[in-house]
Symmetry: C2
Subunit: 201 residues, 2 copies
DNA sequence: TGCTACATGTAAAATGTTACATGATTCG
DNA sequence: CGAATCATGTAACATTTTACATGTAGCA
């Protein structure tokens, strides 16, 4: 029952078409929600039949006409009521962790490659989000209260990607060096490794 | 198609009943996978009909007889083949982020309360995982290769909870102080407020 | 000319959740 | 005595994914 509010949350910041919603779920808000287009179009139709959103057709030159949806007053009211309810912690499903959990069944080389590949995915996303942050920072964040929320979630996205990336590095180090002592005492292994020279791969 | 491998991953580390699997998805591996019991029992039945797992009935004194499942050779083989495939990045759904995204629609007090509540949830989980880590650290991690995977995922869980908790604090600070300048220049507000001195960390 | 982006949908299949159902034991 | 834990399931419902379906415009 939350796709409803995910869509309405985006519409609360401005009118959008189904296609634009899809792009957002696929991009800038992709790190906290995802939905495919059949889901979105169906949900929009349902929300409209419930009176929570309304659309107007917008004709474009050289492009198909699109349906631009906005929140109705009722929708806005409903969204705010939901916002006041406590959030449930997410229960997520991370394939990478399942594979890591079983990494003892494959070679250390395979495990390191897996970690390296994943690190790259998160590094690329981190960069995207950081660029977005720089852009958002160019304007005032709290003057327009509506802009603060998206900024806060972006900070979360940046943290998440950075933290995941760092974990990939830490895990690969443990696998490579067969580190069997507590970290923290000496965060880095004794050998002169630094800056992760991937030349050796 | 991944609940299959999530279950098989746990079975790869030792035989388990459906109920025990449920407890794991609910507890120690809960931060990377979740499944409800109807799902688990159905999937186990399906996996058994496919020959990937097998069970034997284990009678207990004073407790109902349980079905303890183990991976078959075929199941082991299938799991390893899947492990070699690259992992897809997870597409997750975080209610908390949806609410944060729209926090401009509610009062700063409500937003701070939301963040504070969430911080507490993650703090509690962090503590659990850290205790688990201390326990795992008491034995050798890499001597038994099978134990390393679970240790690595636990490290990820700890990082995740800590990072989420820190974000809750950072976000609450921004909301409270209406911070409208880049962080990093001066992380702390000029005023002498310091309810949660993080200086000691 | 073929690929990508824009734009919207339907249908079927797979997954996941919630409610219903049962029954023994242990702890407070 | 009531609630929680152990233990396994079914049925109904909701959600999500994948495949099918269509058509225009711009770019290489």
């Amino acid at each position: 029952m939350s796709l409803k509010y995910a869509i309405m949350s985006l519409l609360a910041h401005g009118p959008l078409s189904g296609y634009e919603l899809m792009k957002l779920f696929d991009g800038s808000v992709g790190y906290f929600w995802h939905a495919t287009h059949p889901q979105i179009y169906k949900e929009l139709a349902r929300l409209e039949s419930e009176g929570q959103v309304a659309h107007r057709a917008v004709e474009q030159r050289g492009r198909p006409t699109k349906k631009v949806y906005s929140l109705s007053e009722e929708g806005h009211h409903d969204l705010v009521a939901w916002l006041r309810l406590p959030a449930r912690v997410r229960q997520f499903k991370d394939e990478m962790m399942v594979k890591t959990f079983c990494s003892g069944l494959v070679s250390d080389e395979d495990t390191c490659e897996l970690l390296e590949q994943h690190r790259e995915l998160h590094r690329a996303r981190l960069q995207e989000y950081q660029e977005l942050e720089r852009f958002l920072r160019s304007g005032p964040i709290t003057t327009n209260r509506l802009r603060r929320g998206p900024y806060l979630t972006l900070l979360r996205g940046i943290r998440y990607e950075r933290d995941y990336m760092e974990w990939c590095e830490e895990a690969a180090d443990i696998v490579r060096h067969r580190l069997d002592r507590p970290r923290g005492r000496s965060a880095r292994p004794p050998s002169g490794r630094q800056a992760r020279p991937r030349s050796t791969r």
